[in-house]
Amino acid sequence: MSARPVERPVAKKPLRPPTWLARYGMLTAGLVLVGGMSLAAILAPLLAPYNPNAINVDAMLRTPSAAHWLGTDALGRDVLSRILFGARVSLWVGFVAVGISSAIGLVLGLVAGYFGRLTDEIIMRGVDVMLCFPSFFLILAVIAFLEPSLVTIMAVIGLTSWMGVARLVRAETLTLRGRDFVLAAKVAGAGPMRIIFRHILPNALAPVLVSATLGVAGAILVESSLSFLGLGVQPPDASWGNMLLDGKEVLEIAPWLSVFPGLAILFTVLGYNLLGESLRDLLDPRLRR
């Protein structure tokens, strides 16, 4: 990494300091969306007015009403309850997949950056190979073969999305390993494992936090795409993607089935993206204006 360039105001600088909305609006919106969705997921059993999988032949394809706020689907199941339980699936997949990819990316990035030379070369070339993979093709193939289930989805998404984290952490480690506190630890006789995990790791976490937050959004999108193709969460369990798949069959007579689950995806992904971007701005002083 080269030395950071001296900041020079080029564009017109605002005369007034930025308003609260300009500074924290994005963060607040992100927190509200993410917090709201998380609450909905955690409290789903309390909030849901009906059993999400209960089939009710007397109430098939009802339009939204007081009894069923978001209507019912072709099997008479309550859409609101299914969306609430679907939130659990989406967030669970998002967190576990990102946990897997962040852990892999962190370890490989730290090792590559710290040891350098051949180790670095091998790991980063591996990253290049993975980046060249038509990964959605492979994800599809693997999941179709391994019987689609939550575990396979989480594992496959996690195992195919760690490359960005590895690159970030490696770059961060490269700058950190020459810093004085690392040298001091080395002089004090700390071994490489201790230096990497006690001294470098905590200082390299900020960019990982940002990419993990954005990663949750990405994982949720992949999960819903897979479920929409019928290769994700399997019926009768609800996921926003498979609800849209069901909705597609009756698009002409029951359009509400194709609207509400999509809104849930939109707001959740939007929330994590907003949160991630504002964290990036807060944690990277270079971009702060």
């Binding site: 193939a141 693997v142 073969f145 999108l221 795409s225």
Partner: protein, 334 residues
């Protein structure tokens, strides 16, 4: 000169290694998964005996160890033979892929051009007046675009433009009376069928591309030479187009090369929604019926396209950046 050639040779060798790695991983993952393609043909057919099943496995070479199968597969690939599909028709894999290439390629290229044409001006405009009204409005739209699943937007558009206000066809490539139409009528018919899918492809990459362009432009606008250009009193137009834009476009070349895997994945979803006979749909069918040769063929094609994208991006970057072009560093170069 020799140094440049050496660089190119190293690069090509590296591409070959990556390609080899991708085929090994794909082959193992696909063949190690439990179950066999012959399960489909035998369990669905009550008349099929264990003997018939064995004969079928022998025919496809599935009775041999995976490493042997891989060696044979590589041997065929070396002669550009993708093998035969394991589905009922048993046609050569390459024939099946070839007939579907033009549609998927065409849609992706048209939407890529549209994306660039729309996204670059948006990014430049937003960066030039960072924090202005245009920047803020486009940022909001970009965030919504990022969060919008393409298949959901597809459903909404089908609902709006196909059902509520039926102006566009929402399924397939041609209308019922297609054969009777004149040439112009046929072209128009296909265009109408492809309007929504192309719009969705474009929309899908628009948010990312315009955001990327904005970031890249902001980075360039901070440089000293922009300050110089402005200080010597050049009009904004000249600063943007002569000094800033050309440099800001450099990273876009790289991102274009890296976007190939995403486009391939997107085509699976969009083609399956609109029932378009393209590569994505073919791959989806291949996966569902465990057609190993067809899956491997599609993965190889995807890998080749991705690597070609990266290589072109490298060469393009080398050609566009005089520092790389003249020093012979980096990927390609003249």
């Amino acid at each position: 000169m020799t140094r440049t050639l050496l660089r190119i040779a190293t690069k090509l060798a590296w591409v070959a290694v990556v390609f080899f790695g991708i085929t090994v991983i794909s082959f193992w993952v696909i063949h190690l998964a439990p179950g066999k393609p012959t399960d489909m043909q035998t369990t669905l057919n009550p008349g099929a005996s264990a003997v018939a099943r064995e004969r079928l496995e022998k025919l496809y070479g599935l009775d041999q160890p995976i490493s042997m199968q891989y060696v044979q597969w590589v041997g065929r690939m070396a002669r550009l033979d993708f093998g035969r599909s394991m589905s009922g028709d048993g046609r050569p894999v390459w024939d099946k892929i070839e007939e579907r290439l033009p549609l998927t390629f065409g849609m992706n290229i048209v939407s890529l051009i549209l994306t660039l044409v729309i996204a670059i001006p948006i990014g430049v405009r937003a960066a030039w007046r960072q924090g202005g009204v245009f920047d803020r409005v486009s940022t909001v739209i970009v965030f919504v675009g990022f969060a919008m699943p393409s298949f959901w937007l597809a459903l909404l558009l089908m609902l709006l433009l196909g059902i509520i206000w039926p102006v566009l066809p929402i399924s397939g490539l041609t209308s019922l009376g297609f054969a009777k139409l004149s040439i112009a009528g046929k072209v128009w018919d296909v265009c109408r069928h492809l309007a929504l899918p192309v719009f969705l492809y474009t929309f899908g990459s628009l948010a990312g591309m315009s955001r990327f362009m904005r970031t890249s432009m902001l980075e360039v606008l901070r440089q000293d030479y922009i300050l110089t250009a402005r200080a010597k009193g050049l009009p904004a137009r000249a600063v943007i187009f002569r000094h800033a834009l050309r440099n800001a476009l450099m990273p876009v070349i790289t991102i274009l090369g890296l976007s190939v895997p995403g486009l391939i994945g997107g085509s699976v979803i969009i083609e399956s929604i609109f029932a378009l006979p393209g590569l994505g749909q073919l791959f989806y069918q291949a996966v569902m019926s465990r057609d190993y040769p067809l899956i491997m063929g599609s993965l190889v094609l995807g890998a080749v396209l991705t690597l070609a994208g990266n290589l072109l991006a490298d060469v393009g970057y080398g050609l566009a950046d005089p520092r790389i072009r003249n020093s012979g560093r980096g990927g390609g170069g003249a």
